[in-house]
C-alpha cells in the first residue's frame, strides 16, 4: 500500500484529503506545512504529495523547489480550492504532475493518484566503466552478426544475444523450454510445473537449471492456468472446464467440472479460496473449492489484461499482460492494486506472458513467443527489488 503525503495548512482540508486518500486504499501521511512534510519524507517515504492550496498561494512551487534537492522525481499533485485553468497551467509548467479542481472526491483524485504512481518518466541507469567496455564488445559482436545477416545468412538467431549475455557472468534469469506453447505455471515448493496447450502435457522442471523432470500427457484436455489446492492440482482447461488431478505419478483425474465462470486464464489458491481471472470480461473471481468452483465474489480487475495469478502467503499477485506489469492485490480489496512492478523483458513485444509463480525473493513467469509458438517457450525469473520487498 503506497504512502501518500498530504500538505494542507487548514485542518479541515487536511482531514478531507486524508479521508479520500484512505478511502482509495492508500496510507495518508498528513502534514500542515512543507517543513513537516519534508521531515516525513525521511521516515514514511511517501510515493507522492498532494498539496491543498488556493489560487494565490504557491505551496506547490515551494515544495517542488525543496524536493529538487531531497527527492526530485517525486510527483506533486495540487488540489486547488478554486477551478482556474490558467493557474493549473502555471503549476503544471512549474512541474506539478496534475492539478485537481474542486470539489475534491475519490472520483476526482483517484485517477490522478493512480496515474502519478504508474506514469514512469525517463529511465536512467548508471553504467560502470567495466560494463561499458563489455557493452562495446556486445554491440560489436551484434553488428557483426547483422553484417553476416546482410550478406545472405538469413538465420540470425536471437539466441546469440543470450550467449553474449551468458558470457558476462550475469546470473541466468531466463531459460528456453523444450516446447513452444506454455500456457500455465505453478510452483509446488520444490519444482516448477508448466502446462503446454499444444502438446496437451504437463511438465515439471528443476528450479535450478530448468531441466525437465517429468512429462504427463493429458489426452482429453487442453491445459491452461493451474494451481495446487487441497492436495490436488486444479487446471483450467479448454473447452470451458476445470479438471481436478490427484498428485500421483500419472496425475489421475478425480473430477471434471464445467467452469462456472469461463474462460479462466489465471488461477491461484490462497489457502481458503481459489482465485481466477476472466480477462475477456476483465473480472477477478473469488471461488470455493467445490464442483465447478462456485463464485462467491467478483471484482473488476485493476489492470489492462490479467493473464496469470499467484499468492505469496500474504497477498495476491497478478500478471497484467496488457501493461506488462506485476500487480499486488490485498486479499480484502483485490480490485485495487497496491503495488505495480514493471516487467521490461515483455516490453519488446517478443513474448506473451501466460503464467506466474512466486518464491521468496521473486517470481517466475512463463511466456509463449510472438508470433505464436514460433520459437521455444521461455521462463523468466524476476527478482523483487529490495526496497520494494521491504514495504510489502
Amino acid at each position: 500500500m503506497a504512502d501518500i503525503g498530504i500538505i494542507a495548512r487548514d485542518a479541515i482540508a487536511r482531514g478531507e484529503l486524508r479521508l479520500i486518500v484512505e478511502e482509495l486504499g492508500y496510507r495518508a501521511v498528513p502534514a500542515k506545512d512543507i517543513k513537516t512534510a519534508l521531515e516525513a519524507l525521511g521516515t514514511e517515504r511517501p510515493k507522492l504529495f498532494v498539496v491543498a492550496q488556493s489560487e494565490a498561494e504557491n505551496i506547490s512551487e515551494s515544495l517542488l523547489a525543496e524536493l529538487e534537492r531531497e527527492a526530485p522525481f517525486l510527483p506533486v499533485i495540487t488540489a486547488m480550492r478554486e477551478r482556474k485553468a490558467a493557474r493549473a497551467m502555471e503549476l503544471m509548467r512549474a512541474g506539478v504532475f496534475e492539478v485537481v479542481a474542486p470539489p475534491w472526491s475519490a472520483e476526482s483524485l483517484g485517477p490522478c493518484l493512480s496515474k502519478a504512481l504508474r506514469f514512469k518518466g525517463t529511465q536512467m541507469e548508471v553504467v560502470s566503466p567495466a560494463e561499458e567496455k563489455k557493452g562495446v564488445l556486445q554491440y560489436f559482436l551484434l553488428a557483426f552478426a547483422l553484417l553476416v545477416f546482410a550478406v545472405g545468412y538469413s538465420a540470425y538467431d536471437k539466441r546469440s544475444k543470450l550467449a553474449l549475455k551468458a558470457g558476462l557472468d550475469r546470473p541466468v534469469t531466463e531459460w528456453d523450454l523444450p516446447y513452444n506453447h506454455p500456457s500455465g505455471l505453478a510452483f509446488d515448493g520444490k519444482t516448477l510445473w508448466v502446462s503446454d496447450w499444444f502438446s496437451q502435457s504437463m511438465y515439471t522442471h528443476h528450479t535450478g537449471d530448468l531441466k525437465v523432470l517429468r512429462t504427463v500427457h493429458f489426452p482429453r484436455e487442453i491445459p491452461g492456468a493451474m494451481t495446487f489446492a487441497g492436495d490436488a492440482l486444479w487446471v483450467a482447461a479448454q473447452p470451458r472446464s476445470i479438471i481436478k488431478h490427484m498428485l500421483d505419478d500419472t496425475l489421475k483425474v478425480v473430477g471434471r467440472f464445467k467452469d462456472a465462470r469461463p474462460q479462466s486464464v489465471a488461477m491461484t489458491y490462497d489457502g481458503l479460496y481459489l482465485w481466477t481471472i476472466d480477462h475477456q470480461k476483465g473480472m477477478m473471481h473469488k471461488r470455493i473449492l467445490n464442483e465447478g468452483l462456485s463464485v462467491v465474489e467478483s471484482f473488476k480487475y485493476p489492470g489492462a489484461k490479467g493473464v496469470a495469478l499467484t499468492f505469496d502467503g500474504q497477498a495476491l499477485w497478478s500478471l497484467d499482460g496488457g501493461n506488462k506489469e506485476l500487480l499486488r492485490h490485498e486479499l480484502s480489496r483485490p480490485a485495487r492494486a497496491t503495488k505495480r512492478l514493471p516487467l521490461p523483458m515483455y516490453r519488446g513485444g517478443d513474448w506473451k506472458p501466460t503464467g506466474l509463480a512466486f518464491r521468496d525473493g521473486g517470481f517466475w513467469t512463463v511466456a509463449e513467443s510472438i508470433p505464436k509458438g514460433e520459437r521455444p517457450g521461455r521462463i523468466f525469473w524476476h527478482e523483487i527489488p529490495k526496497d520494494e520487498a521491504k514495504d510489502k
Binding site: 509548467r93 492539478v99 485537481v100 496515474k115
Partner: protein
C-alpha cells in the same frame, strides 16, 4: 525527424461552442502540425470542438481550434484523445514553429 521534450507540454482547453462547459487542462503527449495526442481528466468525446492553448519554446500557441477525432478512457480514468487541428492558418503557424524547434534540436 522527431524530438522529445524534457517533459510533457501542459495545455489548457476551452469549449467556445459550449458555454456551459468549464475550462479544462491536460498534457500533450505527441504534437504534429496537424494533430496532437492529448491526455486529460476531462471527458472528451469524438466530435467535440475545442480551443487548445499551450506554450512551445519561445512561442505561445493560443486558441488553436481542434476537433476530437478519437478518444478512449484509459485504466486510470484519464481520457486519451487524438485532436485534429481544424484551422489551416493554425496548422501552417504550428508547422513553422515545430520546424524551428526541430532545426535547433
Amino acid at each position: 525527424m522527431r524530438v522529445s521534450a524534457a517533459r510533457f507540454i501542459p495545455a489548457s482547453v476551452r469549449f467556445p461552442e459550449s458555454e456551459a462547459r468549464q475550462d479544462a487542462w491536460g498534457r500533450i503527449l505527441e504534437l504534429q502540425s496537424n494533430r496532437a495526442r492529448f491526455l486529460t481528466r476531462t471527458r472528451l468525446e469524438k466530435g467535440d470542438r475545442l480551443s487548445l492553448s499551450f506554450d512551445l519554446p519561445g512561442e505561445p500557441m493560443k486558441d488553436i481550434s481542434a476537433e476530437v477525432s478519437a478518444g478512449e478512457r484509459d485504466e486510470d480514468g484519464y481520457y486519451l484523445c487524438v485532436l485534429l487541428f481544424s484551422d489551416s492558418a493554425d496548422r501552417v503557424r504550428l508547422g513553422r514553429v515545430l520546424q524551428k524547434i526541430l532545426v535547433r534540436s
